[in-house]
Subunit: 348 residues, 2 copies
Amino acid sequence: MAATLNDVAEESKVSISTVSCVINGKDFPTRYSEETKQKVLEAAERLGYIPNRLARGLNLKRTGTIGVVFTNALGTFMNEIINGIQGVTHKQGFDLFLCISDDDWQKEASHIRMLRERKVDGMIVFMVACSKKDKISHEHILSVKDAGIPLVFVDRYLPGVDIDYVVADDFHGAYDAVNHLIKLGHRKIAHVTTDVDCTSNHNRLAGYTKALSDAGIPINNEYIKTTKYFGKEAGHEPTLELLAMKERPTAIFFISDGVAIDALEVIKRDGFMVPEDIAIVSFGNSRESAYLEVPLTAVDQPPTELGKRAGEIIIDKIENPDEKGCKQVSIKPTLVVRESCGASLKSR
Amino acid sequence: MAATLNDVAEESKVSISTVSCVINGKDFPTRYSEETKQKVLEAAERLGYIPNRLARGLNLKRTGTIGVVFTNALGTFMNEIINGIQGVTHKQGFDLFLCISDDDWQKEASHIRMLRERKVDGMIVFMVACSKKDKISHEHILSVKDAGIPLVFVDRYLPGVDIDYVVADDFHGAYDAVNHLIKLGHRKIAHVTTDVDCTSNHNRLAGYTKALSDAGIPINNEYIKTTKYFGKEAGHEPTLELLAMKERPTAIFFISDGVAIDALEVIKRDGFMVPEDIAIVSFGNSRESAYLEVPLTAVDQPPTELGKRAGEIIIDKIENPDEKGCKQVSIKPTLVVRESCGASLKSR
DNA sequence: TTGTACGCGTTATCAA
DNA sequence: TTGATAACGCGTACAA
C-alpha cells in the first residue's frame, strides 16, 4: 500500500532514521550529507511517500490538530469566526478539526469526546444555545479542562468558571445602542430578547437596563419581551404585542438582527414606518443587515477578530502549557449607524 | 497523563489484552468472565480511560474518519448537505473531518493532502468553483483516486473521469424550468449564467437550449448573458442589459437564486413588475427564496438527499474496497412553482 | 478463561 | 556522518 519511511529507506539504501531526519529537515548538515539528502528526497518522491500523522502523533504526543466545535454552518458570522481562527492557526502549522453540533447538546458532547479520543492539542468551542427550561450539563466541557487540554470558548462562555474565552462585550455594546436611542430623544424604548439562557442575553439586557437608568428613565417591564429562539418567525409575536400597546414604544432594541429582520416584516405589514414611527437597533450577527430595505443600525460584532484572538490564545496555551493564567477577553463592538434608528432623519 | 489500556490493566490486575477485549466488547463470554468484565469496567471508569484513536488507527489501518472538503460554510445548502452526510455516516461509526476550502484551490489541495496524512478512510469533496480563465489542476484529486482512497464528489464533478459522484440533474432541472415558462406562453426567454467553468453551468445551459429547441424556439445568443461568479452584485449588470434590449425578454432563467435575488433588486428599481412584466425562474441553492417579497419559482435541489447518497456511497466503498464499479448518480430536482414565474397569475 | 508478544509508522536517544 | 533500537498505545494471533 502506501509507502512508509521504511520503504523510502530501502529504496534509497540508507537507514530509516536518516530518512526521518531528511524528511523533517532536521540537523542538516551535521546529520547527513547533501548527497544522501538528495538520494532520500528522490526516493521519497518516486514512491509518493506521505508521512503518517497517526504514527507521528503517537510518538510525539502532539497531533498538530485543534478541534473546533460550533453550532452550525449558517450565515456569515460563524464562517468569519472560523476564518479568523484558521488564519492564525494555519500559520503555526495546526489543522482544524471542524465539528458541527447543530445546536444539539448531545452532539456537542459526543464531538468533544471524539476529539479527545483523537488527541487534539486543544479545542475551541462555540457552545450550543439552550433555552431556560432545559438545564443542560456541562460535565463534558469541564472534563476537558480537568484533563488539562487547552480550551477556549468563543462567543459564549460559562460564567464563574476558570476557562478562557473570547466574546463580544455585550454589556457595553447594548449600552451604546440604547444610549444612542436615548440621545435621539427616545424614552419609550423596548427590548426584545430570547429565552436562551446565555451570558450574551443577560449582559445585553443589563446594558439596556443600565443605559436607561443612567438616563433617569424608569424600567418598564412591559417593554421587555421574550421570544423563543428556535423557530422561523421568532420576532413576530413580541413585536406585535409591543405595537399593540397603548403606550406604544417609539424604539426597540432587538437581541439580534435575525429577530429584528423578522420584526421588520410585521412592522411593515401593520403599516408602521421605520424609523419614523418606530426606531430600531439590533445586535448584529450577519452582514445582511446592511442590505435590507431599511438598513439596520446594529452593534457590530467583529467575528474575524473573535476567531483570531481565540486562535492566538489556544496556540499560546498549547505552546506554553505551564502558564496558569486564564485569558478572558471581551472585545468591544462598535455601533454602526444606518437608517433604522432614525439618526439620519434628525440630521437632515 | 491520560490513562492507557496498560494503566487500566494494572489497576484491575488483569492483562492488557483482556482489558482491550472488554473495552471493545469482543468475544464475550468466551473471552472473559462477567466478573473480570465488571472489574475492568470499573477500573476504566475510575481512571477516566479514553481510548487513543491514533494507536488504534495505526494498528487497524482504519481510522473511522471520513474527510469532507467543502467550499464554504455559507447558507443552508452546504449545511444540509453535511447534515445529510452525517446522518448516515454517524450511524456507521464514522466521524467527519470537515475542512473549508473557501473556494480557494490551494486550500483545497492542502486539505486533501492533510487528510491523506491523517489516513482518513475516505473523502467526500465539494470542489471549488473556478472561473473559465484560470485552468486549475486536478492532480491532487486524481492522486487520491490513484492511491486507492475511496472518494465521492458532491454537487460538482470531473466529467469524463471514473470517480463517483452525487449531483443534481442540472440538465433536466433546467429543462423543466424553461419548459414551464414556455407552457406559460413565453417565447422570449433569457438565461443568465456565470463564468464558472463547471458541469452544472454547462448542463443547465444545455437544458435551457434543449427546452427551447424542442418547442421550436430559435436560440438567441443575445439572450444568454454571463456574469462573474465572485462579487457582491453578480446579477445586476446582465439583468440591466436584458431589460434595456429592444426585444426585451419576457422571462429570465437564472443560474442560481443568489443571482436571481440580486437581479430582483434592479428589476424593481427600474420599475418592472415580477412576474407581470418579467417572469423569473431560478435554480435554488437556498431556502430564502421562498421568503422573498416575490417568492421565487425555482428548481429545488435536495441537499440533504445529496449528502445522504454521498454518505451511503462512501461507506459502501470503504466497506467493500474490492467492488470496482463507479457510482455516478444524479438526482432529479423538482420545480417548485411560486410567484415569480406568473403561473398563479394565469390561473386566476 | 487469561496472558505474552508482535507489529502498526514514527521520532529520539545513543552508540558506532 | 550514519545506523540500531526503544518507545508511543493499541489489537490480535497464539500460547498457556
